[in-house]
């Protein structure tokens, strides 16, 4: 049953009506070129810790954002009020900001309509999950962890959202979506384990199974020993792969490369990674989420970012494509902005080595469940630092021997992706530092752990 707070989302027709109101207000000011972005959603999240629900929230919010072009100038104004008077005010504000700009000879006209393929990512049942349903799933998960003599903390979140972009050149793109997320940390006296799942259809998430996985990791990592820092063979589970490797995808941007802030500057076409690394951006992949068009309304193209270790394609916004006489790829952020574009639907090609086989084939190594607080140390060598967390294990003789204290790493991503020995099949993975993606587990040699913490 839909809760009282969750007014149904704006339909495509209602968005079109909002656009017409804004366009009318713009015409009244003598402005014809207008773009309107409408976003709205209802979300709810049940949070638990110490084996009890402790925060339990719901939010509904929307935004209408107007960009005008007036004689080579542009600016954006936004509001979350969608009544007629507020729409007129936000158009007037956008006009005021726009007229105060200097003309930009390189400013492009608004995008033309280009209907790409749609993707169906809205599920009624997920949109209608109630507080009681979330609480029951949470209670079951807590029961599993508590039954193992451990303490559980986590979230169960469900949401429904829509995103639309309309403009005065006929563009009318609209995308509705639902999303569910469940994550759980199981804590024992001196150890912990973690698991997380996300999907557009909440039926694809199994909270009980995730709770069992987290509890098993907490049990297996009891009484962790301290190992010295150094170079180890590591097996990174998919969540660890996505959070670490995910730090580089903002660099697959034509604007970032042009700016000299990307590690791919002067490296397009080079073989930077191992032969076994192939990465696409593919919003149409069955395990992906998100709208099939970008912040400028351009349909998202499938990009071969890396093929057999070679850097092949990068994302282009309309402005970046114009500067380099090529086509936009549908990865631009809403204009005006200085960042440009980025691929957001990453699919890292998997291999055929299941995680269990990777472990079985490892004489001595470290199994990493997840990583934490990853930050860039060097922007061109793409050295990242961060910590292991919630399930770090020593592998000896092809089996998990015991838990180890958490490490700090300082690891270059170019080196990492050149040292991959094996990949598991890809799965939809979810972490906390990068956006969700399709990623495999990776076995990597010569991974640099530089310090050890106290737990």
């Amino acid at each position: 049953m839909r809760s009282e707070n969750q007014r149904r989302l704006l339909t495509r027709g209602e968005c079109a009506e909002l656009f017409e109101q804004a366009a009318g207000a713009a015409r009244a000011l003598g402005v014809d070129d207008i773009e309107v972005i409408v976003a709205a959603g209802s979300s709810a999240l049940t949070r638990f810790a110490n084996n009890a629900i402790h925060q339990n929230v719901a939010e509904r919010a929307g935004q209408l954002s107007v960009r005008l072009i007036i004689e080579g100038r542009t600016a954006r104004a936004s509001t979350n009020r969608m009544d007629h008077a507020s729409i007129r005010e936000v158009v007037e504000e956008a006009a005021l900001l726009t007229k105060l700009q200097e003309p930009d000879g390189e400013l492009l006209p608004l995008a033309e309509r280009d209907d790409g393929p749609g993707v169906a990512r809205r599920f009624d049942a997920t949109a209608e999950v109630t507080p009681d349903e979330r609480a029951r799933e949470v209670a079951t998960a807590i029961g599993i962890v508590e039954g193992a003599g451990q303490t559980a903390a986590g979230i169960y979140a469900t949401s429904e959202s829509m995103w639309a972009i309309f403009n005065s050149r006929g563009l009318a793109a609209y995308h509705p979506e639902t999303m569910a997320q469940f994550s759980i940390t199981a804590m024992a006296r001196d150890s912990s384990g973690w698991a997380k799942g996300s999907a557009c259809d909440h039926g694809d998430i199994d909270p009980a199974s995730l709770a069992q996985s987290a509890a098993r990791k907490a049990e297996l990592s009891r009484a962790p020993v301290e190992l010295p820092p150094g170079s180890y063979t590591v097996i990174l589970e998919p969540a660890a792969v996505l959070d670490l490797v995910g730090e580089m995808f903002g660099d697959f941007s034509a604007t970032a490369i042009r700016d000299g802030r990307s590690f791919l500057r002067d490296r397009i076409g080079q073989k930077l990674f191992g032969e076994n690394i192939t990465i696409h951006d593919d919003v149409y992949h069955a395990l992906q989420a998100g709208a099939p068009f970008d912040g400028e309304g351009v349909p998202r193209a499938r990009l071969a970012l890396v093929q057999k270790g070679v850097i092949r394609e990068v994302a282009y916004s309309r402005q970046a494509a114009h500067l380099e006489l090529t086509k936009p790829t549908g990865h631009g952020f809403p204009a005006p902005n200085e960042v440009g574009e980025a691929p957001m639907n990453i699919v890292i090609a998997g291999g055929d080595t299941p995680l269990e086989e990777m472990i079985a084939a490892t004489g001595r190594g470290i199994l990493v469940t997840r990583l934490w607080y990853i930050r860039e140390v060097d922007p061109y060598e793409k050295i990242m630092t961060g910590m292991t967390r919630d399930g770090t294990f020593l592998i000896e003789g092809g089996r998990i021997a015991r838990g180890v204290r958490n490490f700090r790493f300082n690891q270059g991503l170019v080196e990492l992706l050149s040292n991959v020995e094996a990949l598991s099949p890809g799965v939809r993975a979810s972490g906390e530092e990068a956006f969700d993606m399709v990623a495999p587990a990776m076995k990597v040699h010569n991974f640099h752990f530089t310090e050890v913490t106290r737990f």
Binding site: I53, R265, A335, T450, R454
Partner: protein, 485 residues
């Protein structure tokens, strides 16, 4: 807005709750940026909504809405109650709140120049003037500048009878020069990285920092870093400028003292803390000269954590966190304060907008100035490395082990800078680091820095926090480890 807040409060109370509070908020902001001689983005936004928090059946429920019609408010109140009721399916014990008084207050943070009275073309013109100065140096390949301004009015109303109307003005400004050359990227920022300086001020903040006058130096340093020596890997004395020390405070003191984190509420995401409750008034957190307060009162300064009341209606306070090196205080809420035997919250509950519940957040967590001159900080050691302006930051989920990188370093011998060092970094364990504090410069060098991007909570909230610090020296710190082979 007051009427909206009271209507929403009535809608909640009428349904039968043991406690309710409402925050009705209107936020107006402006963002301006420039990049290599052109406006980057110019935008403004307005957002208005309210959040209803109820305590019923011993559980919390919260619902936020931008539908401010009577029907929308009633629906949000009903949902908040339904959510609280659902919480009973996984309840261990009833939530009990520390007592608090009823307050009625109105407050507007002091501004000398309303930032929204300055036309946006003047914002852009100043940033472009800085941009020209930066790019006068041919080595600068990317010049970026930004300003941000926010006016946030919040009316808080609670079933205790409190009605608190606060308006806060927040301003931020900063710029950077990036130099890409031969497969290496170096960058310098002013007055701080990641957006510059942010305070509870009006446009006067922009005028205080001599932006144009410092641009040539910043550009020169960014370019010179390419030819500087790599920061060596060694253990030595470390001197930090006040902005980097502000972030050090944030990560290794500010987060560990959040009592909700200590008690496990953040275990699944932000993590927990090494500061277990048995450490209070026992742990030697720092050397004798280390004194840290959490102070939200306006008299502490115009920080991002300055207010008159927190987001559950508790007056702003100053709490001793570390007194002469001894750990003496946590950041608390009405729900958590009793867990450490305190009868009252010290007022650290904050939400990042109308759509989110308040969490324990840093206010202004500041290292009080010492009694040494800046010269004494530098001259009190034969050999040190001086680091300025944060470049990267990372700390484990219990806040023991940290590593920071800075934009620029200097080798210091007998008080004099003898050479520039690139890619400087340092690392350590929080309590060992603060116990190694050997010198703190005096109040004339103390700056209340703003950290505008502190993340916590699920769903994540981004909060601004304040951190006062003056340049300080630490003995025997491991440096250069981030680039170790």
């Amino acid at each position: 807005m007051k009427q909206l807040a009271l209507e929403a409060l009535d809608a909640a109370v009428r349904r039968g709750v043991s406690y309710a509070d409402v925050r009705a908020i209107e936020i107006r902001d402006r963002q301006v940026s420039t990049k290599n001689g052109k406006a980057g983005h110019v935008s403004s936004s307005v957002s208005m909504g309210l959040g209803i928090r109820v305590l019923a059946h011993g559980c919390w429920g919260f619902a936020a809405t931008d539908d401010l019609s009577k029907m929308g408010i009633e629906a949000a109140a009903a949902l908040a109650l339904a959510i609280a009721r659902a919480g009973t399916l996984a309840r261990k014990q009833d939530v009990v709140l520390a007592p608090e008084e009823k307050y009625e207050a109105e407050w507007v943070s002091p501004v000398r120049i309303d930032p929204f009275s300055i036309p946006v073309d003047r914002n852009v013109a100043l940033l472009l003037e800085v941009d020209r100065e930066l790019r006068r140096n041919p080595g600068v390949t990317l010049a970026e500048g930004a300003m941000s301004f926010e006016r946030r009015r919040q009316v808080f109303a609670s079933s205790l009878g409190s009605v608190i109307d606060q308006t806060r003005y927040l301003s931020g400004v900063g710029y950077s020069a990036l130099c890409y050359k031969d497969g290496e990227i170096q960058k310098r920022s002013y007055p701080n990285s990641f957006g510059g300086q942010h305070q509870l001020k009006g446009y006067e903040l922009v005028e205080e920092w001599n932006l144009v006058e410092n641009a040539a130096r910043i550009a020169e340093e960014a370019v010179a870093l390419h030819d500087a020596d790599q920061c060596p890997e060694l253990t030595c004395d470390l001197i930090l400028d006040s902005s980097q020390l502000g972030l050090q405070i944030h990560e290794s003191i500010g987060h560990p003292i959040e009592l909700d984190r200590v008690l496990g509420s953040e275990a699944n995401y932000a993590g927990m803390s090494f500061l277990t409750v048995d450490q209070l008034n026992r742990l030697r957190y720092g050397s004798d000269m280390v004194n840290v307060v959490s102070d939200a009162r306006p008299e502490h300064g115009p920080g991002l954590g300055t207010f008159l009341f927190d987001d559950e209606g508790v007056p702003a306070q100053s709490t001793d966190i570390i007194r002469n090196g001894l750990f003496t205080g946590y950041l608390t809420s009405r729900e958590t304060a009793p867990a450490i035997g305190q009868t009252r919250s010290n007022g650290a509950m904050r939400a990042d907008g109308w759509g989110r519940i308040p969490l324990i957040r840093m206010t202004n967590v500041s290292l009080l100035p010492g009694d040494q001159t800046l010269a004494e900080v530098f001259e009190g050691t034969e050999h040190a490395i001086y680091m300025q302006t944060n470049r990267s930051w990372s700390i484990d989920d219990k806040r023991y082990n940290f590593q920071f990188g800075c934009e620029i370093g200097w080798e210091v011998k007998n008080g004099k800078r003898v050479r520039m060092l690139k890619n400087p970094s340092y690392s350590g364990i929080s309590t060992e680091f603060w116990n190694a504090c050997a010198a703190i410069a005096g109040p004339e060098h103390w700056i209340l820095w703003g950290t505008p991007n502190c993340g916590k909570g699920q769903p994540e909230q981004v909060m601004g926090t304040g951190h006062g610090a003056s340049p300080s020296r630490f003995s025997g710190i491991k440096v250069g480890g981030a680039y170790a082979e």
